[in-house]
């Protein structure tokens, strides 16, 4: 009996321990995950011409879609009524079915949405059998993109399918019935609508808008990346969206659907995008993303980074207010930039509404915009969730919370999207996603002041992120904007245009690695994030200037810009004989702090300290020396490290639970087990 009670007690404990991680908690990595009860395979692609026989009948017609436009409401931008003229559904798969439901012909739509044969040139033809037929246009494509405008550019593929959900795998479609008398056939007009009332609440216009965003992005890349091979885009991208459905429920399936936040997201390594379609069937007041082009293209930007470059983002909290992990700020900044840049440079293909152009005025589309609900006459309730102008100055960015009414500039009392100061805080832009997005946008677009007015610089941007010449190459671990701007410098033949340098150095605080701003009184105060350490026989002048914990500038304990330095350890090529590394620091001024060593490996999550408590143990730590003081901190047994794994050495000032004087400064050295050997940062 006692044994049974013990058994039950242990079982109960076991269940409780598992349940702790099972509920909805974005901070819990042990959340349960959704799996389909059953999965239906996507219907086969209709990609080959079927011989229609003698004297075939030609089917003509067009496929178009409506989307909700952007309109103004006070100073906000919101979703409004559908655009006045429908947009073409380009390059999409066409199927013609007979009355039995058998596919009797395949085709594609043209650049203008016309129904054509699979080759995209010939007429769409069906057998001369009189009867009723159904023409379908799917939100799916698998065809070569036109690169003929750029001689020498290798072909690449548009391969995607926008489907309802990942269990059913049904591509969205518009269809129309036609009749043939055996000689001629009626011409279908296939239209995907944006209003629930016009689409039986399916809002296929949303699916085709997502599809159109991808097609437009790929068309832009086809003609704005020079002769560079972008066949990295060839793998199929599966996109899942359904009107009124919040895909975050897949991620947090246990949670009450009413409380799950609406999100669109990209699944790393799976080539899958999930676009937020609303919640619980609500699209009129809920947060939706199917017409938020900047949000959709932000997600497409993550896909592009993942397949054509290399995504190092570790994730983590971010909301454009704080200094964060530079790998995260880069990845999100890139997405924000792409969301605004593609719309700005393709407005006619994405939203040709003349009223929108009037609202936007001269700068055009310069925003990352996320909306909620819509306002369509008397229907719906709309609001702007977030709007970030990417042409604002780094010193006066968009205000999130205005605590100084009647003052339109971002003051010290306001909450603003990544306000930066390149003089006081050089390099802090590398830790801020909105500063990165602004720097990219202003470097490649036109605006009244502060931009390069050179959209053709996107060519160099691409060469800086891809796997061929950019930071997507495997030789560049721990990717961040500082690596990006070094690759951009190389793409410009080591002569970055002055207009870009001005943005980096005097506007957005994203100075390049060799900036003199990082050296003060002969000491290097910010070794570039991820710069490689190499052995030398002379000491280098390294100085760390830790900052007080400040929730106004960083949302985790330990400021990654000021209280931490990060060095790439390339064991195989730079430090083969090193078995230990020792930190010795000298206090120059300010508060006495512990200075520690932590060794991470590629893919790490930055481990913070808590208020007054030092984290001395973590699965993220490969090695650590986190005792008290700031001398003789040694990590050893480095001969056991993998020779192929990139490691990151973190010199950390322990700053929580104490008041750190602004004057605090320490110089330090890094030495090895080899007598007289120092470790110093090399050229980035």
């Amino acid at each position: 009996m006692i044994l049974k009670k013990l058994l039950y007690t242990i079982l109960l404990l076991y269940f409780i321990s598992c349940e702790q991680g099972g509920g909805f908690a974005p901070s819990s990595p042990d959340s349960s995950v959704f799996q389909c009860p059953s999965t239906v395979a996507e219907i086969a692609e209709c990609s080959a011409t079927i011989n229609p026989g003698a004297s075939p009948v030609t089917v003509t017609g067009t496929a178009q879609f409506f989307k909700r436009t952007i309109t103004s409401q006070s100073s906000s931008l919101i979703l409004g009524a559908p655009i006045p003229a429908a947009l073409a559904i380009k390059f999409a798969e066409v199927r013609v079915l007979n009355s039995s439901g058998t596919v009797i012909q395949c085709g594609t739509t043209s650049n203008s949405g016309a129904l054509l044969a699979v080759d995209g040139v010939s007429s769409l033809q069906i057998p001369n059998t009189a009867g009723a037929y159904t023409v379908e246009v799917l939100s799916r494509a698998n065809r070569a993109m036109n690169v003929s405008g750029v001689p020498g550019k290798p072909a690449f593929q548009l391969y995607t399918s926008v489907k309802n959900d990942f269990c059913k795998n049904e591509p969205h479609k518009v269809s129309a019935n036609i009749t043939s008398d055996g000689i001629t056939a009626s011409s279908p007009s296939l239209i995907a609508y944006a209003r629930e009332s016009e689409s039986s609440s399916l809002i296929q216009g949303g699916a085709f808008n997502i599809y159109n965003n991808l097609v437009t992005t790929y068309e832009y890349l086809a003609s704005n990346t020079g002769t560079v091979n972008i066949s990295c885009l060839n793998p199929k991208l599966n996109i899942y969206w359904q009107a009124g459905f919040n895909p975050a429920q897949y991620v947090y399936p246990n949670e009450n659907p009413s409380t799950v936040p609406n999100i669109s997201f990209y699944i790393r390594g799976q080539n899958e995008l999930y676009i937020n379609g609303g919640k619980l069937g609500n699209v009129s007041t809920a947060d939706t993303d199917h017409f938020d082009d900047a949000v959709i293209i932000h997600e497409i930007g993550h896909h592009i980074e993942s397949v054509c470059g290399k995504m190092d983002s570790p994730g983590g909290t971010h909301n454009g207010l704080f200094r964060i992990d530079p790998r995260l700020s880069w990845s999100e900044g890139w997405g924000n930039y792409m969301g605004a840049h593609i719309v700005q440079n393709n407005l006619n293909a994405i939203n040709p509404d003349p009223a929108l152009s009037t609202i936007l005025g001269a700068p055009g589309w310069v925003y990352y915009l996320d909306t909620k609900g819509y306002k369509d006459g008397a229907s719906g309730t709309a609001s702007e969730i977030i709007k970030i102008s990417l042409i604002r100055a780094g010193s006066n960015p968009e205000i999130v919370v205005n605590n100084s009414p009647f003052v339109s500039t971002c003051g010290t009392e306001d909450l603003c999207f990544d306000k930066v100061d390149p003089v006081i805080n050089p390099g802090e832009g590398h830790f801020r996603e909105v500063a990165i997005a602004r720097s990219l946008f202003k470097s490649t677009n036109t605006c009244a002041s502060g931009c390069t007015n050179r959209s053709d610089y996107f060519d160099e941007v691409w060469k800086s992120i891809d796997k061929i010449t950019g930071m997507g190459q495997s030789i560049y671990p721990f990717r961040s904007s500082v690596r990006f701007y070094e690759r951009l410098h190389a793409a410009f033949s080591n002569s970055t245009p002055a207009a870009i340098d001005s943005i980096l150095n005097t506007d957005e605080a994203v100075q390049r690695s060799n900036s003199a701003d990082y050296t003060i009184s002969g000491n290097l105060t910010w070794p570039t994030y991820g710069v490689k350490l190499v052995p030398t026989m002379t000491a280098c002048n390294l100085e760390i200037r830790p900052r007080n914990e400040d929730t106004a500038v960083t949302d985790v304990f330990s400021d990654q810009r000021y209280s931490n330095h990060f060095y790439f350890i390339d064991k195989a090529t730079s430090l083969p004989s090193v078995t230990s590394i020792t930190l010795n620091a000298t206090k120059l001024a300010g508060t006495s702090l512990d200075l520690d060593l932590i060794l991470y490996q590629e893919g790490y999550s930055f481990v913070t300290d808590t208020a007054g408590t030092k984290t001395t143990s973590s699965a993220q730590f490969i090695k650590s020396a986190r005792g008290s003081g700031f001398v003789n901190k040694t990590i050893s047994s480095l001969d056991t490290l993998s020779l192929t794994m990139p490691y990151l050495l973190n010199v950390r000032a322990f700053t929580t639970g104490t008041s750190v004087s602004p004057s605090t400064q320490y110089t330090y050295t890094l030495t090895t087990n080899n007598v007289g050997e120092y470790l110093c940062p090399t050229t980035f």
């Binding site: 598992c18 099972g22 246990n254 993220q620």
Partner: protein, 196 residues
């Protein structure tokens, strides 16, 4: 028999220790979890800020069957830490929902840690008969961070795909408990894979 029970106890004890330790480790607040990786700038960032401050629970057990009936909706807010004033709430009703009792907006007021407060509305025109929506929002600023949290309440949540997913998951969990199978399968929707 006793040997078998002891063997079971030993195996399960090991599982309990491993399970409990793992969860404790994974929930270590000093770690910057990768689970929140994917959340994007903006709304979810603000939503995330709020999740460290309070929980929201919804009670819609007293929904009328027909549009003529009276429905009661309860929101319970539990503070996870001490909250000073500065957060406000608002209910947003569809136009044809009639407010009978309760305040549509106000301040949350101060909370001590673990304190619960209930916000109740009585309405007509929000029933199982027709699908309609009511929103409850909390907005404000806490320690210089913007806070925004919204819950959307449907009168017919059972019609939604999200509900089907949740019920499927709960059913699966129940079956797993019955089978003493607590392996947490990690798949593509594991939060560390999600990039927003």
């Amino acid at each position: 028999m006793s040997y078998n029970i002891l063997k079971s106890v030993a195996v399960i004890s090991f599982g309990a220790i491993v399970g409990y330790s793992s969860v404790k480790f994974l929930l270590n607040p000093s770690q910057n979890s990768r689970a929140i990786a994917s959340f994007p700038i903006s709304k979810v960032g603000q939503e995330q800020n709020s999740r460290y401050l309070f929980n929201i629970k919804i009670n819609t057990e007293e929904l009328a069957k027909t549009e003529e009936g009276v429905s009661t909706i309860k929101i319970n807010i539990e503070a996870l830490k001490k909250l000073n004033a500065g957060l406000s709430y608002s209910w947003i009703l569809a136009q044809d929902i009639e407010l009978l009792e309760g305040s549509l907006n106000g301040d949350l007021g101060e909370f001590t840690e673990n304190q619960n407060k209930e916000f109740i509305l009585k309405v007509r025109g929000f029933s199982k008969q027709l699908k309609k929506f009511i929103s409850f929002e909390v907005n404000g600023e806490f320690e210089k961070k913007p806070i925004r949290r919204e819950v959307l309440i449907s009168s017919r949540i059972e019609d939604s795909l999200e509900y089907a997913i949740q019920q499927n998951e709960l059913s699966k969990s129940k079956n797993q408990i019955n089978k003493l199978d607590h392996s947490k399968s990690k798949n593509k929707f594991s939060p560390e894979n999600i990039i927003r």
